[in-house]
């Protein structure tokens, strides 16, 4: 197959003359529409002598755009890929580019979906006028969320994500201890407490000066690859974590 007209034009895409030669030579590759491409690259139709500065500037910008696209793709890839030699070596550059705007995480139900449900309850305490401490009943916060989700075609984030994610984030930052090891952990503890305070206040009618959370971890009945399910004996596998009493502040901070 012949070379396309515009390739052989001296001066390449720069000169308007090339447009004419393309048009006269224009018997070649129709698939790629070289003609129209050439016309556009050479300048606006009908405008003679496109300024050289403009053309060079434009090409530079196109190149920069492409370079940015490529950089973005590579850095985002390294951000979401499992940690590896490259992403560790360049973690500073990756983080500088990706955070905060392009942070993402697509470990959707992966590597494995959660195999437990967490049932979170709260109770409050106050000192009565006679000096005795009054402790409330446990109030099941998760049950309220479950009830809100049930039979709703579009459940609210407040039911599906608020308490659930507050707890998983707390767990991530604290591990098995309830001492907050970092500033972020303290913030998460306040957030979790504020959620519980708001919900118990709604439920019990007024806020109390102290609050305590209890988290029961209920495993989902296991399903083996051969299709058998473990006999349901939930009371055995329950893991209960009792958090310390937290002081409630009026402004939530």
């Amino acid at each position: 197959m012949k070379k396309t007209g515009w390739v052989s034009v001296p001066g390449g895409i720069d000169s308007l003359e090339s447009v004419e030669s393309v048009e006269s030579a224009g018997t070649t590759d129709t698939e790629q529409r070289p003609d129209s491409a050439e016309v556009r690259e050479s300048g606006p139709p009908g405008v003679r002598a496109t300024s050289r500065v403009l053309r060079v500037g434009l090409r530079t910008v196109v190149f920069l755009c492409l370079a940015t696209v490529l950089t973005h793709a590579v850095l985002v890839f390294l951000h979401i890929a499992p940690s590896n030699a490259v992403s560790q070596r360049y973690s500073r550059q990756i983080n500088a580019w990706v955070y905060p705007l392009f942070e993402q995480n697509w470990r959707l139900f992966a590597p494995d979906p959660d195999s437990v449900n967490r049932q979170i309850s709260a109770r409050t305490a106050r000192t009565a006028a006679d000096g005795t401490v009054q402790v409330s009943e446990w109030f099941d916060l998760t049950a309220v969320d479950k009830a809100a989700v049930e039979h709703s075609p579009f459940p609210s984030h407040t039911a599906q994500n608020e308490l659930r994610r507050a707890w998983t984030s707390y767990l991530e930052l604290h591990g098995g201890s309830d001492e907050s090891p970092s500033a972020r952990a303290v913030m998460m503890q306040k957030y979790l407490r504020n959620i519980a305070v708001a919900r118990t206040s709604d439920h019990f009618g007024k806020a109390a000066p102290f609050i305590q959370l209890r988290v029961v971890t209920v495993p989902v009945t296991a399903l083996r690859p051969d299709g058998t399910r473990t006999a349901q004996s939930p009371p055995k596998n329950l893991e209960t974590r009792l958090l310390p009493w937290w002081k409630v502040t009026s402004d939530g901070n």
């Binding site: 529409r33 995480n105 139900f109 590597p111 449900n117 049930e150 075609p153 579009f154 690859p225 939530g252």
Partner: protein, 375 residues
């Protein structure tokens, strides 16, 4: 074929021409604009009763906590400018209006910037309540700013057509070099945005698939059993229960999910993409209904729509117009069927996708390492 013999120089010229010649996939980007605009509008309205709890000054993630986090992460939010309830209500109303106008394509470029700003502000204010769907909408809101997503199926396009500019909005009377340079720049930016969107969706699926490959339950075909038993993702317990009993079907669906996700980036350049996109659509509809994640699924479905070619959307538009006309004729003329092509396709296609699962784990903070499968 000629392409095989092209030199590097020729190829780079063609690439240059492809990037600068004309904006590609104008319909697909318009569909994304409409899709994400409507999704966010739906989300805002759905959370109307909870708006203060999620984004407002009354949130358990107090304005002080949010401000502290912004300091640590470098985020910003227009919601952080004031703790006043009135100010928040104004921002909320603005977000509703902007989402609607963005979907309609009114002054699209300006609206796309505002939309991105508002989505980012609302997202970061409630960062610990977000999930994968919110995350995807945020990213797409940024990327759409780059695109000329208002050229088709928009109020802008309608206005341009009225003014006789052949529907293209910008191409009225070339007035010299600067005009030409500007058109080229807009085109390049659009095409780059398009590339970024496509790459982003490929990364999303690829990474979702590859992480699943590491999991023992996906390998054993039992993962969906656990998914179906998460308390907060069972809006229809009876349905979930029935699905959960189909052990064999669950295993097949689980494998299909992983395969589709891993294969996704590789099927896009052939006809295989149509069956794959259809299957993903089915999966996302399943997730939307069974798990009560319509926003997440909707965000994924809209993202998939970027891969359908303009001729598909044109044909769809023709079909809708013809149907609308046929419907109009025989039935009573009282039906105000406005046969605008954009309505039908999006509403019909909106509901579905979702990768299975959930939330962005780490929110704003960089911590959190992926849990590893037992080796």
């Amino acid at each position: 074929m000629a392409t095989e013999r092209l030199s590097v120089r020729d190829r780079s010229r063609r690439l240059y021409a492809l990037l600068t010649e004309r904006p590609l996939s104008l319909y697909a980007t318009a569909v994304l604009r409409i899709g994400y605009g409507l999704l966010y509008l739906g989300f805002l309205l759905r959370e109307f009763p909870h708006r203060d709890e999620i984004w407002g000054p009354g949130s358990p993630w107090t304005p002080e906590l949010a401000a502290e986090l912004y300091d640590q992460t470098g985020w910003a939010s227009i919601l952080a400018l004031s703790d006043s309830r009135t100010y928040f209500e104004l921002c909320y109303a603005l977000a509703v209006v902007v989402s609607a106008l963005f979907a309609l394509g009114w002054r699209t470029r300006a609206m796309s910037v505002l939309f991105a700003l508002l989505v980012a502000s609302f997202h970061s204010r409630s960062i610990f309540m977000t999930d994968g769907g919110d995350n995807l909408i945020l990213l797409m809101a940024f990327y759409l700013v780059l695109t000329a997503c208002g050229r088709r199926w928009s109020l802008d396009a309608r206005r341009a057509a009225r003014h006789g500019a052949a529907g293209d909005g910008r191409t009225t009377a070339p007035t010299g070099q600067l005009r030409w340079a500007r058109t080229t720049l807009v085109t390049v930016l659009h095409n780059c945005g398009l590339i970024v969107i496509a790459v982003q969706v490929c990364f999303l699926y690829g990474s979702a698939g590859l992480y699943k490959v590491q999991g023992g339950t996906w390998g054993g075909g039992t993962a969906l059993h656990y998914v179906l038993n998460l308390d907060l993702f069972r809006p229809w317990p009876a349905l979930s229960q029935i699905a959960d009993e189909q052990t064999v079907l669950l295993a097949i669906t689980g494998y299909a999910t992983v395969l589709l996700q891993v294969a996704f980036p590789f099927v896009l350049f052939g006809r295989l993409k149509y069956p794959v996109l259809t299957m993903l659509l089915g999966m996302h509809i399943g997730i939307a209904v069974l798990m009560g994640l319509p926003l997440f699924s909707g965000a994924m479905i809209v993202a998939d729509l970027i891969f359908l070619p303009d001729r598909f959307y044109l044909a769809l538009g023709h079909l809708c117009r013809r149907l609308a006309r046929r419907e109009l004729r025989p039935t009573s003329p009282s039906k105000p069927a406005s046969p605008s092509p954009e309505g039908p396709p999006t509403t019909a296609l909106l509901p579905q996708q979702g990768g299975p699962d959930g939330p962005v784990k780490s929110g704003l903070h960089a911590s959190s390492s992926p849990s590893r499968p037992p080796s």
